[in-house]
């Protein structure tokens, strides 16, 4: 008998084991919901699958009578735009600042301690300041995402640059490269896959900040909707929204991973499958 740590599941078993927790979660929910609804058909806490489907139908496939829009898609678009813009700007700023910090000792001396302090400010604590300075519209929400994620990416990029083997940077110099060429031909291409990894890790925080900002001040958005319908205890709306947000987050994470593997195959060599 092999040690437990050496036993690998076969492909079939692996799929089965992957599906199992999901199936169990659905079944447990279904049983609990059945039990509660049979006691009190008006119970709102655990709506049945038919009730949830009806709510999805109402929000996603029937147009709003007043505005003629589909709430669900409108919310999704608003949220995706905000998070995409926020994390995109964060990634660009993080990359540039991180590279400058990692590569140039003069810049590092001036900026690195400042950024470390900056990254320790709890973003939620300065949310009121953002609302006061940027108003209640788009800008404040995007700024919250940027403030929450950019310093982390900057610090990560800086440490990734300084972790590149010194030998490579010296080799490039002996081949006649200037600082600029070392930056764009040696450092940048090696740091891009690490940037994607860093963005994947900060996406969770980005969603957190987005939903928090939307909950407090917005006219549309996934977070806004959830907090709005909470007043009516509409679990039949909240649950599909949460599942949808999770799916979006997963899709982003997954596509960033695939993108990285596609563009930087040399980076993913030797990674555990």
């Amino acid at each position: 008998m092999k040690r437990l740590m050496n036993i690998e599941p076969s492909p079939v078993v692996k799929v089965f084991l992957t599906m199992l927790p999901f199936v169990i979660a659905v079944v447990v929910y279904w049983l609990a919901s059945e039990a509660r609804l049979s006691e009190n058909p008006n119970d709102k806490l655990l709506p049945s699958f038919t009730q949830i489907a009806a709510a999805v139908e109402r929000y996603a496939f029937v147009e709003n009578k007043r505005t003629g829009e589909y709430l669900f898609w409108q919310d999704s678009a608003a949220s995706l735009w905000r998070i995409g813009l926020g994390i995109g700007i964060s990634a660009c700023v993080g990359l540039v600042v991180g590279m400058l910090n990692g590569l140039l000792p003069m810049v590092r001396a001036g900026l690195s301690p400042f950024i470390t302090i900056l990254s320790l400010i709890p973003p939620m604590a300065i949310l009121p300041i953002l609302f006061i300075t940027f108003g209640l519209d788009e800008l404040a929400k995007v700024m919250l995402i940027i403030i929450g994620t950019a310093p982390v990416i900057m610090r990560d990029m800086q440490s990734q640059v300084t972790q590149l083997p010194r030998e490579q940077l010296i080799k490039a110099q002996t081949l006649g490269a200037s600082t600029w060429l070392v930056a764009i031909r040696v450092v940048l291409p090696q740091i891009l896959p690490r940037l994607l990894a860093s963005v994947r890790l900060t996406l969770g925080a980005a969603w957190l900040f987005l939903i928090a900002a939307e909950a407090i001040a917005a006219q549309e958005g996934l977070g806004y909707r959830i907090f709005l319908v909470r007043r009516y205890m509409s679990m039949d709306v909240i649950l599909p929204y949460v599942i949808w947000i999770t799916s979006l987050a997963f899709a982003m994470d997954f596509s960033l991973k695939k993108l990285s593997m596609l563009c930087f195959p040399w980076f993913h060599q030797g990674e555990a499958k």
Binding site: P165, E167, I170, R185, P265
Partner: protein, 260 residues
């Protein structure tokens, strides 16, 4: 005047005296092997030749001029590891050497210039025997192939000095022999001046035209960092090595080590 002159060179890191009173001169076309106990300052010496480290006292003159205080094209280097670019394939790794100097702003060269660079790169890749692996990335190459690639890169710049820091230390013996043949050919063909650090004294004898042994002359048992190493042996070797008295000299050096 010599090609390379080292005048009363001292190097310390804080309280630690690493090297002291080094006075040597080297002519163009010499192949200097450097051996010595671990931690005695061979890499430090090489890094000073490279311009990565600066001398605490004294100076190094290359053709009568002070060495530049940072790495440049005059001095090529091959480290034990990590001296190729993992994100570029073999051809790109070699071509980048000339792209660095031909495209100062964009870093990329196009058109007929690119063709010229490619031809030159292919010639050096062929010289180190990597033509079959042209499109492979470093992680797909064996240790020996990666070192060949690093050598080809360095040759692109036709450096005045080639510095090798234990270049074959991580390779197994069979591949090492191939690499010795390769480096000897390249040395002769390109009339390079080579400095090579090695832990393998046999290798030093076999390849070098000259052998330096780094060692501490003075010892203070209460303050081991007080004194630095010097070059205690400076032997001219019959080029090509293999002379019968190698074994005698090795024995003598070993004896000297033991007596301390």
């Amino acid at each position: 005047m010599s090609f390379l002159t080292i005048n009363n060179l001292w190097k310390s890191y804080g309280d630690v005296q690493v090297l002291e009173r080094i006075n040597l001169s080297v002519e163009q076309g010499e192949f200097v092997s450097m051996v010595g106990a671990s931690g005695c300052g061979k890499s430090t010496f090489l890094n000073m030749l490279l311009g990565k480290e600066q001398a605490t006292r004294g100076q190094i003159l290359l053709e009568g001029n002070m060495l530049k205080q940072e790495p440049d094209e005059e001095r090529g280097i091959v480290f034990q590891r990590y001296s190729v670019f993992p994100h570029l394939n073999v051809l790109q790794n070699v071509m980048i050497a000339d792209e660095f100097t031909e495209a100062k702003i964009l870093g990329w060269v196009l058109g007929s210039k690119r063709k010229l660079i490619k031809e030159k790169a292919l010639a050096f890749i062929d010289a180190v025997g990597l033509t079959p692996a042209l499109k492979k990335y470093p992680h797909e190459l064996s240790g020996g192939m990666q070192q060949r690639l690093a050598i080809a890169q360095a040759l692109m710049k036709a450096p005045k000095i080639l510095l090798l820091d234990e270049p074959f230390g991580a390779l197994d013996p069979g591949i090492r022999a191939d690499m010795h043949q390769l480096i000897r050919d390249i040395w002769k063909k390109n009339k390079l001046t080579i400095f090579m650090v090695t832990h393998d004294i046999k290798e030093g004898f076999e390849l070098g035209s000259r052998l330096w042994v780094f060692d501490k002359v003075r010892h203070d048992p209460h303050a081991p960092n007080m004194y630095g190493a010097r070059v205690t042996y400076d032997l001219a070797l019959n080029t090509g090595g293999q002379s019968a008295d190698i074994n005698n000299i090795v024995a003598e050096i070993n004896q000297h080590e033991k007596n301390k």
